[in-house]
């Protein structure tokens, strides 16, 4: 009070008018959104009071007086008009300082600034949500950021809105300011940022352990499956369930070994059923199953093996003898019957297996996960099981892939990965060489399988024959997890995965360095440290989660050692089996910016490129040893990222030829897609990077359709990959399909089969004729 009187304050004309009962001059206020609302002086007074209380300066009476003075000022500026919010706030600041409430003025200004920041963020968020809600995906790049999500559907939009909200929250509250700045400005890219505080990336699901123990997906318990149909169905359910706990890919590392068990169980069932039928027919009796099964059990016990696709040589001899005695059938007849039973059980089981594999592939292309917005991102690895059962499973899953979906469409999930290994399937004398050949044939038509090469030294170092968990498997587009500094006794593929990854904008660093190599490496080191810290920050958030936050991944023991945890335990220690990965994009543009050429153009650049990537790998290795956690180097898949960094860099540096003049940066260490080079050279030049990028890598070459159809040529390319020590590779070729006549192959402007142009019509008569010529059009089944 004294304070106010000491100041030569202005007169309180507005308030006086009020007190006299006259109509105040100011009757309304214009809000930020343009709406006009009734003027209420008490709102100004209470805002001032809040600021005063925050800095312990002044009281309610002071606040009222300042509010009065604000009103008076406003009347002077806006006689008979409505002031807007910003002007009112400016006036409040001004009057607070006029009256010497300096601390209050500061608090009020800070409060205003914070409100503005939040409002801006909210406005941006609302704009994003508006785009998701109002725009069609065809017009909105945002809605096509991840090709796996259909942004036009209800669940797809809901997922995208949730994602936008989570990103806004995470940036405001969870990132250190220096990390937020680097992320916002495009020095680094934090992948799956919307899931920052929720979960980890991906897992190799060991479905055999899962099946042996039985498992639960929420309501009810699933017992160990007893047929190939159940094995296949539950494998799909395991992928779907785990996908609800993680945002990244779900993979099965041991598809062949696991399905082999199911094939074995189905074979034994079929064998017993057909054997019983044949004996019942022969004896013209019914209800003999129990008696036949008892004899079979006895023989199995003595032999120490169940009836399977290939039993030891004397199994059938003994079985025929036992059945002959037990059933009173002549020995010779029984032996002959048994041969027939074997042949029929084999045929029946092969058919059952095909149906199971067909169902599995169809399931994974249609079942939804993640709030129903996406099909699970699924992969299956196989190739090395040499048992007849495993081979039967693989052959049929390849045939199902080859046949395609209901109308012959190419399956997009799961990703099939064939594990190539000398002595197992690589050479013509190897037991699974036929399956390797079949893989090439199918991939030449359907783009899958991709190939993982176990003989490459950095993969071979982990390989122990007879222990499939030591075979490198890949996940999703390329992720690889093998080494383990946290627990060196567990350098395995199973039950592990990536925790999170962040990519560095390499071309940006190169452009900032102005051809100065030392400056480049200095900045690279700064960013490597920054990213490592950010990954550790994210790990801290993940580590505080409990088993109950991951009901399937941790609750069902899918993740390594999670079976040892209680439901309320935190997952910190077991998560350390996973990897923290540092990724990168645009090595080609980086080299061009630094030295004028990329690694496809001149031999000197090959070594320069490797120097950079080796430097990054050494950083990861050192960090791993220092912290005893698995820091690994990733050749980032960069689907959404492909256009993000370069758009920011174009604003900063303009369009520099060979560096920022396209809409995307070149993927990881790849030779640019537009650069003419032979398939052999591309593979040879990219192979050394596979050894360095231990968190994952892929190389592919583009073949024209006719070359790809040449299976010999196709196999030669795969063999070249093997010999160059590629880790993971695939061959791209155009796979087009005309839904009208069913043709699958290369289609230019005109369909080579029915002759129609895109969108044009063709007489049904012609389609009927073609159906006679190509009866496989709709119900296409396998390769002869």
């Amino acid at each position: 009070m004294d304070l106010l009187q000491q100041k030569a304050g202005p007169t309180f004309s507005g308030a006086e008018i009020n007190k006299k009962g006259l109509i105040p001059v100011i009757r309304s206020v214009i809000k930020r959104d343009g709406r006009r609302v009734l003027y209420d002086q008490t709102k100004i007074a209470s805002a001032i009071l809040r600021a005063m209380e925050a800095v312990r300066e002044g009281n309610a009476e002071d606040a009222a007086r300042v509010a009065d003075s604000v009103e008076a000022k406003l009347e002077a500026i806006f006689p008979a008009k409505s002031p807007d919010i910003e002007t009112i706030q400016d006036t409040v600041e001004h009057q607070l300082m006029q009256y010497g409430f300096n601390d209050t003025a500061k608090a009020y200004i800070l409060y205003r600034a914070n409100r503005t920041h939040t409002r801006d963020a909210n406005t941006a968020l609302m704009k994003t949500i508006n785009e998701i809600t109002q725009e069609d995906a065809i017009d909105s790049d945002l809605k096509r950021d991840n090709a796996n999500i259909d942004g036009n559907t209800a669940m797809g939009s809901m997922l995208q809105i949730g994602s936008a909200g989570a990103k806004a929250y995470n940036e405001m509250y969870l990132l250190r300011p220096e990390h937020a700045k680097a992320f916002r400005e495009g020095d680094i890219y934090i992948h799956d940022f919307d899931f920052y505080h929720m979960t980890t990336t991906c897992t190799q699901i060991d479905i055999l352990s899962l099946f042996h123990n039985g498992f639960s997906t929420g309501h009810g318990y699933l017992r160990e499956p007893q047929s190939i149909a159940s094995y296949a169905a539950l494998a799909a359910i395991a992928i779907q369930s785990n996908q609800n706990d993680q945002h990244g890919g779900q993979s099965i590392p041991n598809f062949d070994y696991a399905m082999a068990e199911g094939v074995g169980k189905t074979y034994r069932k079929n064998f017993l059923r057909i054997l019983t039928d044949v004996i019942e027919d022969k004896k013209d009796e019914d209800e003999l199953q129990d008696a036949v099964e008892k004899i079979l059990n006895d023989v199995e016990r003595i032999q120490g093996e169940l009836a399977k696709l290939q039993n030891s040589p004397d199994f059938d001899y003994r079985l025929a003898a036992a059945l002959s005695d037990g059933m009173g059938i002549a020995r010779e007849d029984m032996a002959h019957m048994l041969k027939r039973v074997r042949a029929r059980a084999l045929k029946r089981t092969d058919k059952d297996t095909y149906q199971a594999m067909e169902g599995f592939v169809h399931n994974l292309n249609t079942m939804h996960s993640r709030a129903g917005a996406q099909t699970p991102f699924s992969s299956i690895n196989y190739g090395t099981d040499t048992t007849p059962e495993g081979r039967m499973a693989m052959r049929n899953v390849l045939l199902a892939l080859d046949a395609g979906l209901g109308h012959g469409e190419t399956c997009i999930f799961p990703i099939h990965i064939f594990k190539v290994k000398e002595g197992v399937n690589y050479n013509p004398e190897d037991p699974n060489y036929d399956l390797f050949r079949l893989s090439c044939k199918v991939s030449a038509k359907r783009l899958f399988p991709n190939f993982v090469f176990l003989d490459s030294p950095y993969n071979l170092q982990y390989y122990v024959p007879g222990r499939p968990e030591t075979e490198v498997a890949t996940m999703g587009c390329r992720t690889r997890v093998m080494g383990n500094v946290y627990d060196p006794s567990r350098q395995i593929a199973y039950s592990r995965g990536n925790l999170s990854f962040t990519s560095i904008n390499l071309p940006r660093i190169a452009l900032e360095s102005h051809h100065d190599e030392a400056a480049f490496y200095k900045r690279l080191d700064e960013l490597l440290e920054l990213v490592a810290q950010q990954l550790l920050d994210r790990f801290e958030i993940q580590a505080q989660k409990h088993v109950y936050n991951f009901p399937f991944l941790m609750g069902q023991g899918v993740w390594l050692d999670s079976d040892k945890l209680h439901i309320t335990d935190t997952v910190r220690e077991v998560l350390k089996h996973g990897t923290l990965s540092i990724g990168f994009i645009g090595l080609a543009e980086t080299l061009t910016a630094l030295y004028g050429h990329h690694h496809g153009e001149m031999p000197e650049m090959e070594e320069k490129g490797l120097e950079i990537i080796r430097h990054m790998r050494e950083f990861c290795d050192k960090k791993s040893q220092a912290i005893k956690m698995n820091f690994t180097l990733l050749a980032t898949p960069a689907e959404g990222l492909s256009g993000k960094f370069i758009a920011q860099d174009q604003k900063r540096f303009g369009k520099i030829p060979g560096i920022t003049d396209r809409e995307y940066y070149t993927n990881s260490f790849h030779i640019p897609v537009w650069y003419p080079i032979s398939a052999y050279d591309k593979i040879r030049l990219e192979a050394p990077y596979h050894a360095l990028c231990n968190a994952g890598h892929i190389s592919y070459v583009e073949l024209d359709g006719d070359t790809a159809r040449n299976v010999e040529a196709f196999e030669q390319v795969v063999r070249w990959m093997h010999d160059c020590e590629i880790g993971y590779g695939s061959i791209n070729h155009p796979v087009d399909r005309d839904p009208v006549c069913g043709y699958v192959g290369v289609i230019g402007d005109v369909c080579p089969r029915c002759g129609r142009r895109e969108g044009h019509r063709v007489p049904q008569r012609r389609i009927e004729e073609l159906k006679k010529l190509y009866p496989d059009i709709v119900a296409f089944r396998g390769i002869e």
Binding site: N148, V717, V735, P763, Q764, R765
Partner: protein, 64 residues
């Protein structure tokens, strides 16, 4: 004009043999996007579409 019901694969198709099919039906084009495939290129983001457009074929002519 002959109209007849043809039964195939438990599916009954009205066979109007002079009718024309395919109005507005496009060709499906499947390409590898990163390591996985996408059912239709309509769902690709702008940058990946541009990258796909720029891809050149690699010849098998010379073995280095």
């Amino acid at each position: 004009m002959e109209n007849q019901a043809v039964e195939k694969d438990n599916e009954v198709i009205l066979d109007n043999r002079d009718e024309k099919l395919g109005e507005g039906v496009g060709f499906e084009r499947i390409r590898r996007i990163t390591g996985y495939l996408v059912g239709t290129m309509d769902k690709w983001n702008d940058a990946k579409r541009a990258e796909e457009r720029d891809r050149v074929k690699h010849s098998l002519a010379e073995n280095a």
